[in-house]
Symmetry: C2
Subunit: 204 residues, 2 copies
């Protein structure tokens, strides 16, 4: 006899455990941003529960090709592909203002390479700035365990420098000069809202 | 010999055409909101291209269970499930303000049933209002081809009425009294930004 989870997935204790382990290894290899993403999600959850801000990560965009509808259980997507996102990953509202950001990390110790960013994300940030939204990046230097908030305006300047033949990265010195180091804590883990108040003059 | 699209999908002219036709039928049956969604996406694209607003539909949230990495082609998602969204479908920025909305339609001619809304979406709207975001619903009466913008505050009042034992829908009269009929056009198809200027006093 077969058992199913409420979402329709078949329950098979031994096999699934093996599969999960394998899958997690694959993921943590492929998605180095995992920890940073987890920390930001937890921080956003903290803000949401306390009524401080409502900021969410957007779902991963997926092109669905084939869906099966097995009897008595939920629809199963049998064939789909990852699509490139046309926006940044996080957005939401804080004190009525539109907040929009992307989070990236590097293992490089002295500079942040631009290969971590896609052109369409940069274009999206330009659009948000034109619409007077608050737009920034959270940049994590994973070896030093330091996270900086850098306004999109500054990021665009460095991007422009690359486009006109300059270096393909921002130095850590440049980031720490123009950006803002975020103090890391237990709850919330990455308290970027505090910095936003200060950087964008949102203190009432 | 096999050919592949840039996204890794196998090219097989005859079969695919059949599949697409079948799939589209399935989708339009399962997702009655298709046309409304298309019209809103086109409207948002219009706003984006002209620098009027930057509002996007969030990707459909999917729980990915199994991913294959075939040689020489893109990762293929082989098993995934639809997840329930924790927010509304559309958000973005207009004149610095956070914009958040959900779009629904009904074939009912005289009232809009609440069964089209989920509790978590209603809760999300409450949160957005507390954060002083602009939050509303676009309600389409498909038979009459009429679309109304109704502020989330009003929607919440009607929802509250249901929760306290009242009717499980809003009448069309109530919606037309408290909401705002949107004129439908060719470009943009559903010009809701015009209404927003008026309803939320955003004219400078």
């Amino acid at each position: 006899m077969e058992f199913h989870y409420p979402n329709g997935r078949k329950y098979s204790p031994v096999k699934n455990e093996e599969k999960t382990e394998k899958k997690q290894k694959k993921w943590s290899y492929g998605k180095r941003g995992m920890t940073l993403e987890d920390d930001i999600n937890e921080t956003n959850q903290f803000y949401l529960e306390r009524g401080i801000a409502a900021i969410h990560k957007k779902p991963t965009p997926v092109q669905i090709v084939q869906v099966d509808y097995p009897r008595r259980s939920a629809a199963v997507i049998k064939e789909a592909y990852f699509k490139q996102a046309s926006t940044t990953d996080y957005n939401g509202v804080y004190k009525g203002k539109y907040i929009d950001f992307e989070a990236k990390e590097t293992q490089n110790e002295s500079s942040f390479p631009f290969k971590n960013f896609h052109r369409h994300q940069i274009q999206h940030m330009e659009t948000i700035l034109k619409q007077k939204g608050i737009c920034f990046v959270l940049l994590r230097f994973s070896t030093a365990e330091e996270i900086y908030l850098l306004d999109a305006k500054d990021l665009l300047l460095f991007w422009e420098r690359m486009e006109t033949g300059g270096r393909k990265s921002m130095t850590k010195a440049e980031i720490s000069e123009r950006g803002h180091l975020i103090s890391l804590g237990f709850q919330p883990r990455i308290d970027y809202i505090k910095i936003i108040d200060y950087v964008y003059n949102l203190n009432e």
